[in-house]
């Protein structure tokens, strides 16, 4: 397994390099360093000298990909791409175009993202599995049909609707929780209730349908019939026999998501005023801050690759037949 993991890590390098190149190309296809300078300077009288000075200060005064003016060594290394993107491989995120340490911002903003994402993930997963099992238990009934119709309806509704509706009902109409905002430590709890509720409810439709489909594939198996024949209660059949055997496909979807929890939810954090990594990414895009954008894309890619590796490892834990080679 160790060899497998090491091999997967090596495979990640060309993937991440490709991600960097594409991110760089896409970003500078629509933004030029001059335009980034104008947005960052944000002043009325922007002179060409101020733009040139900003570009020099922030390392945008070089060619993008290749430097034809330099010798063979500097041809690739004395470029914006090398300065800004290659350093990411040693996790040197540098500073944002506003001069703030990106690593420090990431470490500060990770916790608020996790404070929302982990409860949404755990509670959402639990609720989806339980509801899916209940639907399977009452399969081929009016209850199942109704539940599926409701799930499709909930899945079809945009997440923004849940956010705005939740803020309106719980925050404005019923005054039960703050409508948005965040405080640190234990004081964060009132601010997390509504985002977590919204996150869980907005995920019920899709999650229940997915897990119901997985459980329905297992419910007709011989071991289920055997368990019933042994006199196990239906709830016991579902939770003690069906659920563990359905874990492999469930794990596929779960474990790969876990590292991405750190990245937060762009929409939720923007609407609820949570100072997490999701809103950090959105703000970087809006401010045309390439340093932030490339850092967050790189970090997201790394976390996704880690998620995939963890998924492969988790297979071996739940299914002894699986070997990594």
């Amino acid at each position: 397994m160790i060899a497998y993991i090491i091999r997967r890590i090596f495979y990640a390098f060309p993937i991440l390099l490709g991600v960097n190149i594409i991110t760089f190309a896409l970003f500078f296809m629509v933004n030029s360093p001059d335009q980034m300078a104008q947005v960052q300077l944000g002043i009325k009288h922007i002179t060409p000298e101020a733009i040139a000075h900003w570009k020099t200060q922030h390392g945008y005064n070089k060619p993008l990909f290749v430097n034809a003016a330099e010798d063979s060594k500097g041809y690739f290394t004395d470029t914006i791409f090398f300065d800004k993107s290659v350093r990411l491989f040693i996790f040197d995120f540098g500073k944002s175009d506003q001069g703030r340490s990106i690593a420090q911002d990431i470490s500060e903003r990770m916790l608020p993202s996790l404070a929302v994402q982990i409860p949404v993930f755990v509670i959402g997963l639990s609720v989806n599995i339980v509801v899916a099992l209940m639907v399977v238990m009452f399969r081929a009934s009016v209850f199942e049909l109704s539940a599926m119709v409701i799930c499709v309806a909930m899945f079809s509704v945009s997440g923004v609707f849940y956010i705005i509706g939740g803020q309106f009902l719980f925050g404005k109409l019923w005054n039960l929780v703050p409508i948005s905002g965040y405080l640190h430590g234990i004081n964060a709890l009132p601010f997390l209730i509504l985002p977590v509720i919204v996150g869980v409810i907005s995920g019920i439709g899709g999650g229940t349908r997915l897990y119901r489909m997985i459980f329905m594939n297992e419910i007709h198996r011989d071991y289920i019939r055997t368990a019933r024949a042994k006199g196990v209660s239906e709830l016991g059949v579902l939770f003690k026999h069906l659920l563990p055997n359905a874990m492999i496909p469930i794990l596929t979807g779960i474990v790969v998501v876990i590292p991405s929890l750190f990245m937060g939810s762009l929409l939720m954090e923007s609407f609820f005023g949570i100072p997490g990594l999701g809103s950090f990414t959105i703000d970087g895009i809006q401010a045309q801050d390439f340093s932030i954008v490339r850092s967050m894309v790189f970090l997201g890619s790394v976390l996704y690759i880690i998620g995939l590796i963890l998924t492969d490892i988790s297979y071996t834990l739940v299914d002894p037949r699986v070997r990594l080679s």
Partner: protein, 707 residues
């Protein structure tokens, strides 16, 4: 604390008590008893807090409460008036010849103007580690290398602070900083043109920097010939020529004092890498100091304990007494102990929290306009809901002008020949600016008759009778486009509006615009691009018709008339010019050169009228309007009066803390019946659900059930 509140709510519910429930939706942290806190918002992060570098309204909201330039604007008087802030009196202005002899202003031998400043003694800086001294009188925090400053990881690691008296050399040091090329002062071209010796100082600094690139430079060791210290509290600034608008810049944070100690402190090895710099941690003599700067969440200003004596004004303009703006006349400032700005990027939560009493003031977005305001034949007033809450509405015409402009370099709509002029005049007649204001600004604005807004010398209210569409069509025909077609080729006239891409509101606006041009049979094509492409088009002169705006730097007509001054053309200046129409009329330019340095007088007014007449004839702008700001304040906010120019107004504001607490409690009582209903529904579903489960478990297999 929140848990205790929830328990209290639960107990109150279960006890069926009839008293008010504790509030659960307060988004602010615990408050200190007896401390007056104002709650406000910011929507975009400050870019710079160094007063020399920033030229951004968003940054001014913060730093103008911290820094004190020599002058300030009177809070209440209109038209806007300057008054001394840190000075004992207004600067004395003398006019000098080449030999330094005092002349009269009008003398033809006048070559320089000299401003003499006298600072009030006893003004102290906020507590700051840069001023911390040990028993020997040496600075506590002195790091010879980055290794020594390693113990400092954040600004809060500086535990010792001190203070210092404001002296003349602090202002002089800041003026010298203007010459530092690494700081890129936004109005360098202007100040270097006028302040004697500044360009030479820049050359000296660049020479030394080239020799010692990594070393901190003490600007006190450099000579600035045009700025001299006459005593501990006196200094002079000598300008080339006569520049009456200079007094307005003296009220701008560019001229705030920065002591050498602060510059040296922030340039110590290892601090810049940790973002410990003047750009992040401002230090001034103002009424507030920044005690929290988490740009991702909250910025907090707290009372400067060393703030000098400053008092609420005792006079204002007509109507201020009736509006309760002079109740605190003569009282010591500031009233508010702490101002909390929270980052809010979405409009809905801000509006909702304002209605809940958690933000003390709010603007009015288009979405909430109908909820906040009633527009009737009598005029605009608060809605019943707002009146019931005791909300106050403050309205003011901003010293700003937004306009629809023509690119005068374009070969169809630009140019100065008779036909091109008539084409622009025809469009100007067809374009209904009043309708635009009514539909897209909810009536918040005034049609402009010239670039100069209300409150600025030379302003003219709209008085000219608007011409008819028939006149517009006639002018169009005379321009060579009868019925909207080229008289020679017969092709329809198609013009292009260059704009940025937007949402559904822009789509509605674009449809309306096309209808305006259609009135005179012109096809309007909307060329929407992203902001960067739009800027590029403007810089290269590729736009044909566009929207633009300008907000006053200071209340002088020169600051608006220069929007049409030829040498300020955007294309000709490489994109930095403010004349976005690239309008270049030699006659206008000559009159501008005459009028720009005049004091307000009937003669100046006469020249301005001539200039406006030229502009009316040439019509480089189809139309313009002056926007109006609506600001809502909750009932407990006192002394708020919008000021179009100055942002340093927090010190005048006051709040009735007890009233706010009462209203918040009244408006935010938790509604618990939905939770009770939910519990009942769960109970109602659980019982039959369990029964259905039981039935399913006891169902016989042979009765045709094949699952």
């Amino acid at each position: 604390m929140w848990f205790r509140q929830m328990v209290a709510v639960g107990l109150a519910c279960s006890a069926g008590a009839a008293f008010a429930l504790p509030v659960l939706n307060n988004p602010h942290g615990p408050e200190v008893a007896g401390q007056k806190v104002l709650y406000s918002v910011f929507s975009s992060r400050p870019k710079h807090l160094d007063p020399l570098v920033t030229y951004n309204l968003d940054d001014s909201v913060f730093i103008d409460q911290i820094y004190e330039p020599p002058l300030e604007y009177h809070y209440l008087k209109r038209p806007y008036q300057l008054q001394p802030l840190t000075l004992t009196r207004m600067p004395v202005v003398e006019f000098l010849d080449a030999q330094g002899h005092v002349m009269s202003r009008a003398s033809s031998r006048t070559v320089y103007s000299r401003y003499t400043f006298e600072i009030k003694p006893g003004i102290m800086y906020q507590p700051h580690p840069a001023f911390a001294k040990n028993k020997k009188g040496e600075a506590v925090y002195q790091f010879a290398s980055a290794a020594e400053s390693k113990v400092i990881t954040s600004f809060s690691d500086f535990t010792e602070t001190g203070t210092k008296e404001l002296t003349a050399d602090d202002y002089i040091y800041q003026i010298k900083r203007m010459a530092d090329p690494t700081l890129q002062m936004p109005i360098w071209d202007l100040v270097s043109h006028y302040i004697v010796g500044l360009t030479e100082l820049r050359d000296d600094i660049q020479t030394i920097r080239a020799q010692y690139p990594d070393q901190w430079i003490n600007l006190n060791e450099f000579l600035l010939s045009g700025v001299k210290q006459q005593g501990k509290y006196q200094f002079t600034i000598t300008l080339r020529g006569v520049y009456p608008q200079f007094k307005y810049w003296l009220a701008f944070h560019f001229f705030a004092p920065i002591p050498m100690e602060v510059d040296r402190f922030y340039h110590q090895p290892g601090l810049a890498e940790k973002n410990i710099s003047l750009d992040f941690y401002p230090v001034g003599t103002g009424p507030y100091r920044m005690t929290k700067q988490n740009f991702n969440e909250e910025i907090v200003l707290e009372r400067n304990p060393n703030y000098h004596d400053d008092f609420y004004p005792s006079e204002g303009e007509a109507g201020d007494i009736e509006n309760g703006l002079l109740k605190d006349a003569g009282k010591k400032l500031p009233f508010i102990d702490k101002v909390s700005f929270r980052l809010e990027t979405e409009a809905i939560p801000v509006w909702t929290k304002f209605l809940q009493g958690y933000y003390d003031r709010s603007g009015i977005s288009s979405d909430s306009f109908d909820q906040a305001v009633n527009v009737t034949v009598e005029g605009i007033g608060l809605s019943d809901d707002m009146q019931h809450k005791g909300v106050q509405l403050s309205r003011s015409l901003d010293p700003a002008t937004y306009y629809l402009g023509f690119n005068m370099l374009d070969n169809v709509v630009g140019g100065f020949d008779d036909k091109q002029r008539k084409l622009r005049q025809a469009i100007a007649i067809a374009y209904d600016q009043q309708e635009y204001i009514s539909i897209f600004s909810n009536g918040r604005g005034e049609v402009a008759s010239s670039p100069i807004p209300p409150g600025v010398f030379g302003y003219q209210p709209v008085g000219l009778e608007k011409k008819s569409i028939a006149d517009a069509k006639r002018l169009l025909a005379e321009a060579g486009y009868p019925g909207g077609r080229d008289a020679k080729t017969g092709k329809p006239l198609v013009l292009n509006l260059d704009t940025t891409t937007g949402g559904s509101a822009d789509a509605a606006r674009n449809t309306w615009l096309m209808k305006q041009f259609k009135k005179i049979d012109i096809e309007l094509n909307i060329r929407a691009t992203d902001y960067n492409r739009f800027q590029e088009k403007m810089e290269k002169g590729n736009a044909q018709i566009y929207f633009w705006g300008w907000f006053a730097d200071y209340p002088d007509p020169e600051n608006f008339l220069f929007l049409l001054y030829g040498p300020n053309g955007r294309v000709g200046s490489g994109g930095s010019g403010v004349n976005s129409s690239n309008y270049n009329n030699p006659q206008y330019n000559v009159l501008f050169d005459q009028v720009k340095n005049m004091e307000d007088s009937p003669q100046r007014l006469a020249i301005i009228r001539k200039m406006l007449e030229i502009v009316r004839r040439d019509t480089p702008w189809a139309s313009a309007f002056h926007p109006q700001s609506f600001v809502l304040s909750n009932a407990w906010v006192m002394n708020f009066k919008p000021h179009g120019i100055s942002k340093s107004n927090l010190k005048y504001q006051n709040i009735d803390e007890a009233l706010r607490k009462t209203k918040r409690r009244e408006w935010n009582q938790p509604v618990l019946w939905p939770l009770v209903c939910l519990a009942i529904v769960i109970l109602l579903v659980t019982v039959p659900g369990y029964r259905a489960y039981q039935r399913r478990m006891t169902r016989k297999v042979l009765q045709g059930n094949s699952q």
